[in-house]
């Protein structure tokens, strides 16, 4: 089974319980924590990669515990403070999601056209294009 990626939300009271431990011990799942953070209000988010036959049961366990579970959607955002509108991304973007408005030569990002190929994240000289989970 190919690894599946999920996005989890923990409320403040859940953040201190060993929930991920249970996924491994009780449901025999191989997990890889790709991203984890707890905010000052003790709410947690996590991006988890999960492999194992009892994947479905593991997800149900998480939901029973009140953990928010959603499939992972990767997206690209443009950090407008870093973007200098140089245009270096516009001839690289395969779908034209990043394009130039002429004659002003301003760069616009149409997220709907973005296929998350991530070429721009490497090509942008200002590192203004970021992948977000």
């Amino acid at each position: 089974m190919a690894p599946k990626r999920i996005f989890l939300r923990f409320s403040a009271d859940k953040s201190e319980q060993p929930i991920i431990y249970r996924l491994v011990k009780d449901y025999d799942l191989i997990i890889n924590i790709l991203k984890a953070s707890v905010n000052p209000q003790k709410e947690g988010t996590m991006v988890l990669e999960v492999t194992g036959e009892r994947y479905g049961e593991g997800l149900e366990y998480l939901r029973r515990q009140g953990v928010g579970v959603q499939p992972l959607i990767e997206g690209i955002t443009r950090n407008e403070e870093r973007c200098t509108m140089c245009g270096a991304c516009t001839a690289i973007c395969p779908t034209g999601a990043l394009y130039m408005k002429r004659p002003e030569m301003e760069v616009y990002f149409k997220e709907d056209n973005c296929i998350v190929c991530q070429l721009c994240t490497k090509a942008c000289p200002m590192r203004a294009m970021e992948v977000c989970f």
């Binding site: 870093r82 200098t84 245009g87 270096a88 991304c89 001839a91 002429r102 002003e104 030569m105 000289p125």
Partner: protein
């Protein structure tokens, strides 16, 4: 009609100078004709914002106790050059950190380098300074590891040996694999064409015979005030011509610029990373041109359609220093989004920011209008196309 620097500066001080950006001059000349526009306008402002690799900062840290003759110096693990006085160092924009993977897994990311340190210095971020020394009687200290910020140290003098390129190649890739260059990612088989210029807003493109921009010219540099210190390295100003002798605008001039980093602004000095190529610094420069006579006004009013770039193959020809071009294209054609090379339609993109160039020209215009920025007459005018300077090569 002849105006002098003194006359124009008197008008600036009195708040009466007529100042326009190079774009606005083009419109004015179209509307009123060259003679009238040249009489009316006193100052034309230009601007450009793009990666300028030949950049760096001279630093003086001040002495520690006991004193130290810094031999090897690192700022946030990026080596700086310490082979000058005891606590003087030069940090170059393209230097990469110790142990940077470079292009070991091609194309390397070059996420951090001298240019990024310079931006962080301007942002007043804390920077780790590490230095080693062989020790002398008068400078006995051998190791230093401390945190500094821009305001802690004595001097930070931005000194860029080659900036504000008059013109530059339009790069294409005739090979069959993607290449990673200082003009960005170039797709195989003429997949795209990249160019770098502010075109009709660009300082040296508007003064092709170097009549007003020279040693001592006061400029907008990195958000603060700077000066032209010398002509830049690889300064070979010329007027391009096609086979029929038709003039295609200038190319080849460069400027060395200098200024106090402490009065600059990180909006106009940005650490930059070119995939597969290296780290560098993007610099914002704006230069005022005094309209001393009609000839200067005529050059300053050149349009994107009058200014041309040579199309060069970066797949094979450029790396091997094979001369020749694939023809010339105007900046108007390049900015349209498509050009034709070898019979094929090729999408174009800039790597120089025209919106920021426009903003710089506007800022400089307001500085002059507000009377707080006077023009300087060059102490020495640089070699111009008439001098026929030709590049020397190695080997």
């Amino acid at each position: 009609m002849e105006k002098t620097y003194a006359e124009i500066n008197a008008k600036i001080k009195a708040g009466k100078a007529v100042v326009v950006t190079a774009e606005e001059l083009i419109a004015l000349v179209e509307e009123k004709g060259l003679s009238k526009a040249a009489r009316e306008v006193d100052v034309v402002t230009t601007g450009t914002f793009a990666p300028m690799c030949s950049s760096g900062v001279f630093l003086n840290f001040g002495h520690c106790a006991p004193r130290m003759k810094m031999h090897r110096v690192w700022l946030n693990n990026v080596p700086a050059y310490g082979g000058i006085a005891a606590v003087d160092a030069y940090l170059g924009a393209t230097e990469v950190p110790e142990n940077d993977p470079l292009n070991r897994h091609h194309p390397g990311e070059f996420r951090y380098g001298g240019g990024h340190v310079i931006q962080e210095l301007v942002e007043r971020k804390p920077i780790r300074l590490r230095a080693t020394a062989y020790g002398t009687d008068c400078y006995p200290r051998r190791e230093l590891n401390t945190i500094i910020t821009l305001d802690d140290i004595n001097e930070a003098i931005l000194f860029n040996p080659r900036n504000a390129y008059q013109n530059y190649n339009c790069a294409v890739n005739l090979s069959s694999r993607t290449i990673y260059t200082y003009l960005g990612v170039l797709k195989p088989n003429l997949g795209n064409a990249h160019y770098s210029t502010a075109g009709q807003l660009s300082p040296l493109l508007k003064d092709p015979h170097l009549q007003t921009i020279g040693l001592g010219t006061r400029i907008f540099l990195g958000g603060g005030v700077g000066y032209v210190a010398w002509h830049g390295t690889q300064h070979f100003p010329a007027i391009q011509k096609d086979e029929t002798g038709r003039e295609l605008g200038p190319a080849g001039g460069t400027l060395a610029v200098i200024g106090d980093l402490k009065q600059m602004n990180a909006r106009w000095l940005r650490g930059t990373s070119y995939l597969g190529y290296g780290a560098t610094l993007s610099v914002g420069i704006g230069i005022p041109i005094p309209v001393l006579n009609e000839s200067i006004a005529r050059w300053a009013a050149a349009r994107d359609s009058d200014l041309y770039a040579p199309v060069v193959d970066y797949g094979e020809a450029y790396p091997n220093r094979i001369p020749g071009t694939l023809g010339y294209v105007s900046y108007a054609e390049l900015k349209s989004g498509k050009i034709t090379v070898l019979g094929k339609e090729v999408p174009t993109a800039p790597v120089s920011s025209y919106p920021l160039a426009r903003e710089i020209a506007q800022i400089l215009k307001s500085w002059v209008q507000e009377g707080k920025f006077l023009l300087t007459e060059p102490v020495w005018l640089f070699p111009s196309p008439a001098d026929g300077l030709k590049p020397k090569t190695l080997g």
